[in-house]
Amino acid sequence: MTRTPVTHDQVRKLSRSLPSFPSLLKEILATLDDPDANFNVLTRTIARDPLISARVLWVANTAAVRGRREAEVTDIATATSLAGMTRVRHIALISSLSTFAGGIRHKLPTAFWPHSVSVGVCCEEMVQHVDVPVTAASALVAGLLHDIGQLWLSHFNATQLAACWQDAQQRHIPIESAEIEFFGVNHATIGAWMAELWALPADIVAAIAGHHQPLEGPTFATSPATHHLVDLIHVGEVLSNALDLGGRSRNRVNNLSGAACKRLGLVWDENAHLLFGRVEARSRHANTIFALPQR
């Protein structure tokens, strides 16, 4: 039933015609373990980007008003100190990927980006609730990029992708299974090939590859530490769908890996309601701030 097999080579070649992947993102990920370097990279890069600068200054000035600081904050270093490194990093990462996704989207449902943002903040929030060695920034980036393969398919195979989604809906099968029938591979594998091409960290590549099947993905060699990020993105997307985030009418939960939940130490009892509430609020807030412009 495969219509047009998509190959690794084809993904690599065609991906070169897409806009450049944001260098800011790789710089931030490379300096996560060095707070001083991270501060310098953040402030220097933010200062070059008017959109990110405006968002950071807005957050800082809101904080300044609440902290009853009288003078308006106009420089990025002060703004970063006021708003906090974690928050400014969050703004910079989502803003840069939002600009990137906005540049290559093509005939995608309008909920693609809100869903990505929801999964990103869901994974970022879950890092606070599980005891595994994953940074919030890696979780955010992997969550934001988990469906990047769908963006590639929509850009280069829009008509077939629409038919594939319709087929999945009619037959009540997971989209990733229908994609294998249509394209020979699913969006998770395509996304991982793209992430490899962009030289993203191996754990993020593996997380994109394995987000629907966290125990699989043998093409992408994983260490035990890498497995935690794969598990986190898998559970993060399921949770985002379960809570109906991202404004998608087609939010569905098909499967959830019990092994992934166990490795993360996640137990679904009434204590999870606090996590649900935080994830919902953060998703709604992030999607208000980081919405793509209307086309």
Partner: protein
């Protein structure tokens, strides 16, 4: 009086709002500030939360809905949860517990 809880970003917090759960600000892995559940926000405490980089708080407010409205809203939310889990195998214990908790959360 029946009350409801809601998480809100710190930008939306106002003086006079009541915390539904303790607000904890954590910086560099350490607890830097905590305000107890039931605390009514003042200019000072709001300023402290901002200074300690708190991002979200959970507030408690009176639930003025009638019983009938509550029942209707819960029924609509439950139907949506059923739709979302329509293709899930609920004999799987992990999926079943997630389903139960999302349903319970939507019924609050």
């Amino acid at each position: 009086m029946r009350t409801r809880h809601q998480f809100i970003p710190i930008e939306d917090a106002r003086v006079g709002m009541v915390l539904g759960v303790a607000a904890n600000a954590i910086e560099k892995g350490l607890l830097s500030l905590t305000l107890p559940a039931g605390h009514t926000l003042t200019e000072d405490s709001l300023g402290q939360l901002v200074a300690h980089h708190a991002e979200f708080i959970q507030i408690e407010y009176p639930d003025t809905r009638t019983d009938e409205t509550v029942a209707e809203e819960v029924a609509v939310a439950a139907r949506r949860v059923m739709d979302i889990f329509e293709d899930a195998d609920l004999s799987d214990p992990t999926l079943a517990t997630l389903f139960d908790q999302v349903l319970a959360y939507r019924s609050e």
